[in-house]
């Protein structure tokens, strides 16, 4: 049976990190998964909910549910967007008293998976055939670690990448300080937390920091670049696409 997924790339990746979405597409297709990209998709609504404008996220929930409710399985390339769907969607749908939307949401939520989780737990693969001969640290982003509990998925996948040396990061489980609008509302605090994360990365003497969320990686790389550390960041999907055919 051929698996078929609809890719939810998130507004953030669509606009700023198209290569991550293209890499996820490559990895999934190389595993024989048929990939769709429903064009009506926009944003999961996380920024509204987390900043305090949850009611304004309701139309976004409606758009997401209408866009994806026909899909067999939905794969998101962001841990925090996946957590948003799992933790908030039903409550937000309930606010509308729209019985149809509520039941569609209830059916949809369990079919939404984070990318690495989909590979290890649904497809059941750990070696996708990638090669990435570099020193790498994995930063478990807060939502992937503590909301989705999928730390092991990325570790399994990275562990199977040819040539990849996985280096422990001190205090890896600590937040990078991003937190969406927190990074500007409490900017000095956000950068103080970030400074410690960056120091731990530099101490690990790695070439690349890998994570499941480009938002956190954008934050981390912002300081890695500013401090001329020479360390790059990469979404897990891009690491896994290395050495596969059709990589950009």
């Amino acid at each position: 049976m051929t698996r078929s997924v609809s890719l939810f790339v998130s507004c953030f990746n669509d606009m700023l990190f198209p290569n991550t979405a293209r890499a996820a597409n490559v990895v999934l297709r190389s595993l024989g998964v048929k990939v769709e990209f429903p064009r009506r998709q926009t944003c999961c609504g996380q920024i509204h909910v987390n900043t305090g404008y949850a009611s304004m996220a309701v139309p976004l929930v409606r758009n997401f549910v209408n866009t994806f409710s026909g899909a067999e399985e939905i794969v998101a390339i962001s841990g925090s967007c996946t957590a948003m769907v799992r933790e908030h969607y039903l409550e937000l749908a309930n606010r509308t008293n729209d019985v149809n939307l509520i039941s569609k949401t209830r059916e949809l939520v369990p079919r939404v998976f984070e990318f690495s989780e989909y590979l290890t737990d649904v497809v059941g693969v750990s070696d996708v055939g990638a090669t990435y001969p570099h020193r790498v640290s994995y930063h478990p982003t807060c939502h992937s670690l503590r909301s989705l509990h999928i730390y092991e998925s990325a570790i399994k996948l990275l562990g199977a990448v040819r040539g990849l040396q996985l280096i422990d990061l001190s205090f890896a489980e600590q937040c990078c300080g991003f937190g969406g609008t927190f990074s500007v509302k409490n900017s000095p605090m956000s950068t103080a937390i970030l400074a410690d994360k960056v120091a731990n990365i530099v101490n690990a003497k790695v070439e690349t920091v890998v994570a499941l969320d480009n938002s956190c990686l954008l934050h981390i790389s912002g300081a890695l670049k500013r401090n001329n550390t020479g360390v790059s960041v990469m979404h897990l999907a891009e690491v896994l696409a290395h050495g596969l055919d059709g990589v950009v």
Partner: protein
Amino acid sequence: MVWMVLSDMAGSRVGFPYTSLPRIEDSQLRANLRSATTAIREKRGRVVAEKDDWEELRLKGEQIRAEVLNNLDSYLVKLEASVENVGGVVHWAGDAGEANEIVLSLVRQHGESEVVKVKSLTTDEMGLNEYLSQGGVMAYETDLAELIVQLAHDKPSHILVPAIHMNRSEIRDLFQGTISKGTALSDDPTVLAEASRLYLRQKFLSAKIAISGVNFAVAETGTICVVESEGNGRMCLTLPKVLISVMGIEKIIPTLDDLAVFLELLPRSSTGERMNPYTSLWSGVHKGDGPEEFHLVIMDNRRSAVLADPVGRQTLQCIRCSACLNVCPVYERSGGHAYDSVYPGPIGAILSPQLFGTESSKSLPWASTLCGACYEVCPVRINIPQVLVHLREKVLTEGHRSSSERFQFAILSAVLSSGSRFDLALRTISRLRFLINRFLAFGSLPGVAGKWTVARELPEIPKESFRVWWRRSRGQ
């Protein structure tokens, strides 16, 4: 990412972003906090890991506390009857003012002008020491760290370790200027402890009245439980003739059997110990044994309003262990004073705005990255991130944020609720890409992006969004 184009969203110039600023820049404070929280965090991790049934204990703790809160009215009545049955006197206080008045009048009835105190957050919440002092009664804190804070005319900065922001040599200097005047002290902890011991023993022996908080009040038996580490609390609870204990309405547990669950959860979560050193339990008064008079002051102080909020209610499950402070990336870099409340850290960020509702406390729900470390360690499973997000919405709904921010988020919502509007927005951004990237290169960005680029670079906007690529290539 679209929010990067929004204008500056900072609200008024009060609240956590401003109170935390000098603390973030205080390198001594950062070092003190980092070493203390890291040590407690690691200790907690070790003793929790050795309990195979830790998650079951957490579930049990949550279930007991939630059940009490769901039936608090009947538990309060039951507690009152049980305490009176064993010879205690129960006083009801609607707010902090009433509770203060009750305590002061009890002290006055006995003609005393000095009391000794066991460390108590609830009396800090009431501002009891200040109130008593205005009424001519001096309250002596007897918990070592509380004593240090009191002598320094400072405020506690941690629920469990009130003087966590101070180091040994700062404490030595303080003692030499106060309780050990004329004595040369070293900064050896044993020497410092001895200095406080000499001072406090006299207070224990002379005081006629003691005031304590309450960790747990057992509804069935009227038994009160206070947990502490030094034994100074035990002195206060047993030596003076009169004991006045103050509790918030939520501190009830149903039976003594339930206490067993919390005496496992609390020490492992708070101090990282397997067992609490001094656990005092008493039921009313007993002739010739301990205080001759026992008063229990039960205070609401807006807790019943918290109880009425179905999401916020879980906040009252808290058993004040402070594990959430020790794992919080924000607390570790701001310390407790930045929260401008007796309840700092993640639990303070959800408790203070609900209890006090002051302008500064309304900024606290945003003083978190929502990283979830607090929820993970909470022994009674308070979903702090969930309550934070709920309170953010509540504060904004009550209209305490700039309307320009609301306007911008409304526009964002309108754009993002339709695939075709988002298409258009992405195409427009693509067209303006050269202009935006040039701005980025010069680092001269207005508003939010300007705040971001103080310490971080921004990426360039790529030539092609994913959706444009997909349409062009059909995903091949």
